[in-house]
Symmetry: C2
Subunit: 154 residues, 2 copies
Protein backbone atom coordinates (compact mmCIF):
# COMPACT_ATOMS: atom_id res chain seq x y z
CA UNK A 1 0.00 0.00 0.00
CA UNK A 2 1.15 3.48 -0.85
CA UNK A 3 0.93 6.28 1.68
CA UNK A 4 0.88 9.36 -0.52
CA UNK A 5 -2.73 10.51 -0.84
CA UNK A 6 -1.94 12.74 -3.79
CA UNK A 7 -0.70 9.80 -5.86
CA UNK A 8 -3.14 7.60 -7.74
CA UNK A 9 -4.56 5.06 -5.32
CA UNK A 10 -6.02 1.65 -5.90
CA UNK A 11 -9.50 1.17 -4.50
CA UNK A 12 -8.07 -1.11 -1.85
CA UNK A 13 -5.57 1.54 -0.77
CA UNK A 14 -8.21 4.24 -0.62
CA UNK A 15 -10.54 2.10 1.47
CA UNK A 16 -7.73 1.03 3.79
CA UNK A 17 -6.48 4.56 4.34
CA UNK A 18 -9.95 5.91 5.00
CA UNK A 19 -10.58 3.10 7.43
CA UNK A 20 -7.52 3.84 9.50
CA UNK A 21 -8.28 7.54 9.55
CA UNK A 22 -11.84 6.94 10.79
CA UNK A 23 -10.65 4.42 13.36
CA UNK A 24 -8.09 6.92 14.67
CA UNK A 25 -10.81 9.58 14.95
CA UNK A 26 -12.93 7.45 17.27
CA UNK A 27 -9.91 6.43 19.31
CA UNK A 28 -8.91 10.07 19.75
CA UNK A 29 -12.38 11.12 20.87
CA UNK A 30 -12.55 8.28 23.36
CA UNK A 31 -9.10 9.24 24.66
CA UNK A 32 -10.26 12.84 25.02
CA UNK A 33 -12.72 11.54 27.57
CA UNK A 34 -10.27 9.22 29.28
CA UNK A 35 -11.42 5.89 27.91
CA UNK A 36 -9.99 3.39 25.46
CA UNK A 37 -11.55 2.23 22.22
CA UNK A 38 -12.57 -1.10 23.70
CA UNK A 39 -14.26 0.66 26.63
CA UNK A 40 -16.11 2.85 24.11
CA UNK A 41 -17.20 -0.24 22.20
CA UNK A 42 -18.48 -1.71 25.45
CA UNK A 43 -20.51 1.43 26.20
CA UNK A 44 -21.80 1.50 22.62
CA UNK A 45 -23.08 -2.05 22.83
CA UNK A 46 -24.81 -1.33 26.13
CA UNK A 47 -26.69 1.66 24.72
CA UNK A 48 -29.54 -0.55 23.58
CA UNK A 49 -28.80 -3.91 25.24
CA UNK A 50 -28.44 -5.44 28.68
CA UNK A 51 -26.36 -8.50 27.92
CA UNK A 52 -24.76 -11.12 30.12
CA UNK A 53 -20.98 -11.35 30.36
CA UNK A 54 -21.11 -14.31 28.00
CA UNK A 55 -23.12 -12.38 25.41
CA UNK A 56 -20.72 -9.46 25.69
CA UNK A 57 -17.81 -11.79 25.06
CA UNK A 58 -19.47 -12.97 21.85
CA UNK A 59 -20.37 -9.43 20.74
CA UNK A 60 -16.86 -8.10 21.39
CA UNK A 61 -15.05 -11.18 20.15
CA UNK A 62 -13.20 -11.58 23.46
CA UNK A 63 -12.77 -14.32 26.01
CA UNK A 64 -15.18 -14.14 28.94
CA UNK A 65 -12.26 -13.59 31.31
CA UNK A 66 -11.21 -10.54 29.29
CA UNK A 67 -14.75 -9.18 29.48
CA UNK A 68 -14.79 -9.79 33.21
CA UNK A 69 -11.78 -7.49 33.60
CA UNK A 70 -13.15 -4.97 31.11
CA UNK A 71 -16.40 -4.71 33.06
CA UNK A 72 -14.45 -4.50 36.32
CA UNK A 73 -12.59 -1.42 35.14
CA UNK A 74 -15.69 0.22 33.64
CA UNK A 75 -17.59 -0.47 36.86
CA UNK A 76 -14.79 1.06 38.92
CA UNK A 77 -15.16 4.22 36.81
CA UNK A 78 -18.90 4.27 37.41
CA UNK A 79 -19.76 3.70 33.75
CA UNK A 80 -21.53 0.33 33.99
CA UNK A 81 -23.25 -1.77 36.64
CA UNK A 82 -23.61 -5.50 37.24
CA UNK A 83 -26.88 -7.06 38.35
CA UNK A 84 -27.91 -10.67 38.90
CA UNK A 85 -29.98 -12.29 36.17
CA UNK A 86 -33.55 -13.05 37.26
CA UNK A 87 -33.61 -16.08 34.96
CA UNK A 88 -30.30 -17.80 35.69
CA UNK A 89 -28.49 -17.68 39.00
CA UNK A 90 -25.16 -18.10 37.26
CA UNK A 91 -25.53 -15.11 34.94
CA UNK A 92 -24.73 -11.45 35.42
CA UNK A 93 -26.41 -8.65 33.47
CA UNK A 94 -24.31 -5.63 32.52
CA UNK A 95 -25.92 -2.24 31.93
CA UNK A 96 -24.99 1.43 31.52
CA UNK A 97 -25.14 3.84 34.42
CA UNK A 98 -26.44 7.35 33.78
CA UNK A 99 -22.86 8.58 33.59
CA UNK A 100 -21.90 5.80 31.19
CA UNK A 101 -24.80 6.67 28.91
CA UNK A 102 -23.88 10.34 28.94
CA UNK A 103 -20.26 9.54 28.11
CA UNK A 104 -21.24 7.20 25.28
CA UNK A 105 -23.43 9.92 23.76
CA UNK A 106 -20.77 12.61 24.10
CA UNK A 107 -18.07 10.57 22.39
CA UNK A 108 -20.45 9.29 19.73
CA UNK A 109 -21.64 12.81 18.89
CA UNK A 110 -18.10 14.15 18.62
CA UNK A 111 -17.19 11.25 16.37
CA UNK A 112 -20.21 11.84 14.12
CA UNK A 113 -19.27 15.49 13.78
CA UNK A 114 -15.74 14.61 12.74
CA UNK A 115 -16.81 12.03 10.18
CA UNK A 116 -19.22 14.53 8.69
CA UNK A 117 -16.40 17.04 8.47
CA UNK A 118 -14.21 14.43 6.81
CA UNK A 119 -16.88 13.86 4.17
CA UNK A 120 -17.67 17.55 3.74
CA UNK A 121 -15.83 17.80 0.39
CA UNK A 122 -18.52 15.59 -1.16
CA UNK A 123 -21.70 16.93 -2.72
CA UNK A 124 -25.08 15.67 -1.58
CA UNK A 125 -25.31 13.37 -4.61
CA UNK A 126 -21.81 12.02 -4.08
CA UNK A 127 -22.50 11.35 -0.41
CA UNK A 128 -25.71 9.52 -1.28
CA UNK A 129 -23.94 7.43 -3.91
CA UNK A 130 -21.16 6.61 -1.43
CA UNK A 131 -23.68 5.50 1.16
CA UNK A 132 -25.50 3.28 -1.30
CA UNK A 133 -22.33 1.62 -2.52
CA UNK A 134 -20.93 1.04 0.97
CA UNK A 135 -24.24 -0.31 2.19
CA UNK A 136 -24.25 -2.93 -0.56
CA UNK A 137 -20.72 -3.94 0.38
CA UNK A 138 -21.63 -4.19 4.06
CA UNK A 139 -24.79 -6.17 3.48
CA UNK A 140 -22.99 -8.65 1.23
CA UNK A 141 -20.19 -8.99 3.76
CA UNK A 142 -22.55 -9.46 6.69
CA UNK A 143 -24.37 -12.16 4.74
CA UNK A 144 -21.09 -13.90 4.01
CA UNK A 145 -19.50 -13.54 7.44
CA UNK A 146 -22.31 -13.22 9.95
CA UNK A 147 -22.97 -10.64 12.63
CA UNK A 148 -19.55 -9.05 12.81
CA UNK A 149 -21.02 -5.58 12.35
CA UNK A 150 -22.48 -5.80 15.82
CA UNK A 151 -19.01 -5.59 17.24
CA UNK A 152 -18.11 -2.13 16.01
CA UNK A 153 -19.05 0.98 17.97
CA UNK A 154 -22.66 0.19 18.72
Amino acid sequence: MSDDPSAALTTTDAVAQLSFRVHALLEAHAADHGISLIQMRLLGILRDRRPTVNELARLLGLDKSSVSGLVDRAERRGLVARSPSPHDGRSVLVSLTTGGRRLARTVSDAFDTDVEALLAPLSQAEGDALTAVLQRVLVADAAAHGVSLLTTVD
Copy 2:
Protein backbone atom coordinates in the same frame (compact mmCIF):
# COMPACT_ATOMS: atom_id res chain seq x y z
CA MET B 1 -25.05 4.51 15.08
CA SER B 2 -27.20 1.64 13.99
CA ASP B 3 -25.77 -1.84 13.56
CA ASP B 4 -28.24 -3.45 11.16
CA PRO B 5 -26.69 -3.35 7.71
CA SER B 6 -30.01 -4.07 6.02
CA ALA B 7 -31.55 -0.92 7.47
CA ALA B 8 -31.01 2.45 5.82
CA LEU B 9 -27.66 3.81 6.98
CA THR B 10 -26.43 7.35 7.22
CA THR B 11 -23.23 8.04 5.34
CA THR B 12 -21.41 8.36 8.65
CA ASP B 13 -22.69 4.95 9.78
CA ALA B 14 -21.68 3.30 6.54
CA VAL B 15 -18.19 4.75 6.66
CA ALA B 16 -17.76 3.83 10.31
CA GLN B 17 -18.92 0.27 9.85
CA LEU B 18 -16.72 -0.26 6.82
CA SER B 19 -13.77 1.15 8.72
CA PHE B 20 -14.14 -1.27 11.59
CA ARG B 21 -14.55 -4.19 9.25
CA VAL B 22 -11.40 -3.33 7.32
CA HIS B 23 -9.45 -2.70 10.50
CA ALA B 24 -10.54 -6.06 11.88
CA LEU B 25 -9.42 -7.76 8.67
CA LEU B 26 -5.86 -6.50 9.02
CA GLU B 27 -5.79 -7.36 12.71
CA ALA B 28 -6.97 -10.90 11.97
CA HIS B 29 -4.36 -11.46 9.28
CA ALA B 30 -1.60 -10.19 11.55
CA ALA B 31 -2.88 -12.46 14.33
CA ASP B 32 -2.87 -15.40 11.90
CA HIS B 33 0.87 -14.89 11.71
CA GLY B 34 1.35 -14.36 15.41
CA ILE B 35 1.82 -10.60 15.49
CA SER B 36 -0.24 -7.67 16.72
CA LEU B 37 -1.51 -4.76 14.67
CA ILE B 38 1.11 -2.40 16.08
CA GLN B 39 3.86 -4.89 15.21
CA MET B 40 2.45 -5.05 11.66
CA ARG B 41 2.44 -1.26 11.47
CA LEU B 42 6.07 -1.27 12.56
CA LEU B 43 7.01 -3.77 9.84
CA GLY B 44 5.00 -1.76 7.28
CA ILE B 45 6.86 1.44 8.08
CA LEU B 46 10.21 -0.33 7.81
CA ARG B 47 9.45 -1.71 4.35
CA ASP B 48 10.83 1.42 2.71
CA ARG B 49 12.55 3.25 5.57
CA ARG B 50 15.39 2.80 8.05
CA PRO B 51 14.39 5.22 10.79
CA THR B 52 15.83 5.95 14.21
CA VAL B 53 13.84 5.06 17.32
CA ASN B 54 12.90 8.71 17.64
CA GLU B 55 11.60 8.87 14.05
CA LEU B 56 9.63 5.68 14.64
CA ALA B 57 8.06 7.23 17.71
CA ARG B 58 6.90 10.18 15.61
CA LEU B 59 5.63 7.97 12.76
CA LEU B 60 3.72 5.68 15.12
CA GLY B 61 2.52 8.42 17.45
CA LEU B 62 4.08 6.69 20.48
CA ASP B 63 6.50 7.63 23.22
CA LYS B 64 10.11 6.65 22.52
CA SER B 65 10.05 4.29 25.50
CA SER B 66 7.06 2.47 23.99
CA VAL B 67 8.94 2.12 20.71
CA SER B 68 11.97 0.82 22.56
CA GLY B 69 9.89 -2.04 23.96
CA LEU B 70 8.13 -2.61 20.64
CA VAL B 71 11.46 -2.95 18.85
CA ASP B 72 12.75 -5.19 21.65
CA ARG B 73 9.94 -7.67 21.11
CA ALA B 74 10.17 -7.55 17.31
CA GLU B 75 13.93 -8.05 17.56
CA ARG B 76 13.46 -11.03 19.88
CA ARG B 77 11.21 -12.57 17.20
CA GLY B 78 13.87 -11.98 14.55
CA LEU B 79 11.73 -9.50 12.58
CA VAL B 80 13.84 -6.35 12.91
CA ALA B 81 17.44 -5.44 13.73
CA ARG B 82 19.10 -2.49 15.48
CA SER B 83 22.30 -0.93 14.17
CA PRO B 84 24.26 2.10 15.34
CA SER B 85 23.84 5.29 13.35
CA PRO B 86 26.99 6.28 11.46
CA HIS B 87 26.07 9.96 11.86
CA ASP B 88 25.17 10.21 15.53
CA GLY B 89 26.61 8.05 18.28
CA ARG B 90 23.42 8.38 20.29
CA SER B 91 21.05 7.13 17.59
CA VAL B 92 19.96 3.63 16.66
CA LEU B 93 18.71 2.66 13.20
CA VAL B 94 15.95 0.06 12.97
CA SER B 95 15.54 -2.10 9.87
CA LEU B 96 13.71 -5.22 8.68
CA THR B 97 15.37 -8.61 8.66
CA THR B 98 14.71 -10.93 5.73
CA GLY B 99 12.14 -12.77 7.85
CA GLY B 100 10.49 -9.51 8.84
CA ARG B 101 10.21 -8.42 5.23
CA ARG B 102 8.74 -11.75 4.23
CA LEU B 103 6.18 -11.58 7.05
CA ALA B 104 5.21 -8.02 6.17
CA ARG B 105 4.61 -9.02 2.56
CA THR B 106 2.62 -12.12 3.49
CA VAL B 107 0.26 -10.25 5.80
CA SER B 108 -0.07 -7.31 3.43
CA ASP B 109 -0.93 -9.58 0.50
CA ALA B 110 -3.55 -11.49 2.48
CA PHE B 111 -5.06 -8.21 3.58
CA ASP B 112 -5.19 -6.88 0.02
CA THR B 113 -6.91 -10.05 -1.13
CA ASP B 114 -9.55 -9.74 1.56
CA VAL B 115 -10.26 -6.08 0.87
CA GLU B 116 -10.63 -6.90 -2.82
CA ALA B 117 -13.09 -9.64 -1.91
CA LEU B 118 -14.98 -7.21 0.29
CA LEU B 119 -15.35 -4.82 -2.66
CA ALA B 120 -16.16 -7.57 -5.16
CA PRO B 121 -19.89 -6.70 -5.26
CA LEU B 122 -19.02 -3.44 -7.01
CA SER B 123 -18.78 -3.05 -10.77
CA GLN B 124 -15.66 -1.62 -12.37
CA ALA B 125 -17.34 1.76 -12.77
CA GLU B 126 -18.56 1.78 -9.18
CA GLY B 127 -15.13 0.86 -7.88
CA ASP B 128 -13.54 3.63 -9.92
CA ALA B 129 -16.07 6.16 -8.68
CA LEU B 130 -15.52 5.04 -5.09
CA THR B 131 -11.77 5.42 -5.46
CA ALA B 132 -12.09 8.89 -6.92
CA VAL B 133 -14.42 10.06 -4.18
CA LEU B 134 -12.35 8.60 -1.34
CA GLN B 135 -9.16 10.00 -2.78
CA ARG B 136 -10.62 13.50 -2.75
CA VAL B 137 -11.65 13.03 0.88
CA LEU B 138 -8.21 11.74 1.85
CA VAL B 139 -6.32 14.50 0.06
CA ALA B 140 -8.46 17.18 1.67
CA ASP B 141 -8.03 15.58 5.09
CA ALA B 142 -4.27 15.19 4.70
CA ALA B 143 -4.02 18.85 3.72
CA ALA B 144 -6.02 19.83 6.79
CA HIS B 145 -4.38 17.51 9.31
CA GLY B 146 -0.87 16.75 8.06
CA VAL B 147 0.95 13.52 7.51
CA SER B 148 -1.26 11.22 9.57
CA LEU B 149 -1.67 8.81 6.67
CA LEU B 150 1.95 7.77 7.06
CA THR B 151 1.09 6.17 10.36
CA THR B 152 -1.37 3.56 9.15
CA VAL B 153 -0.12 0.28 7.72
CA ASP B 154 2.80 1.58 5.75
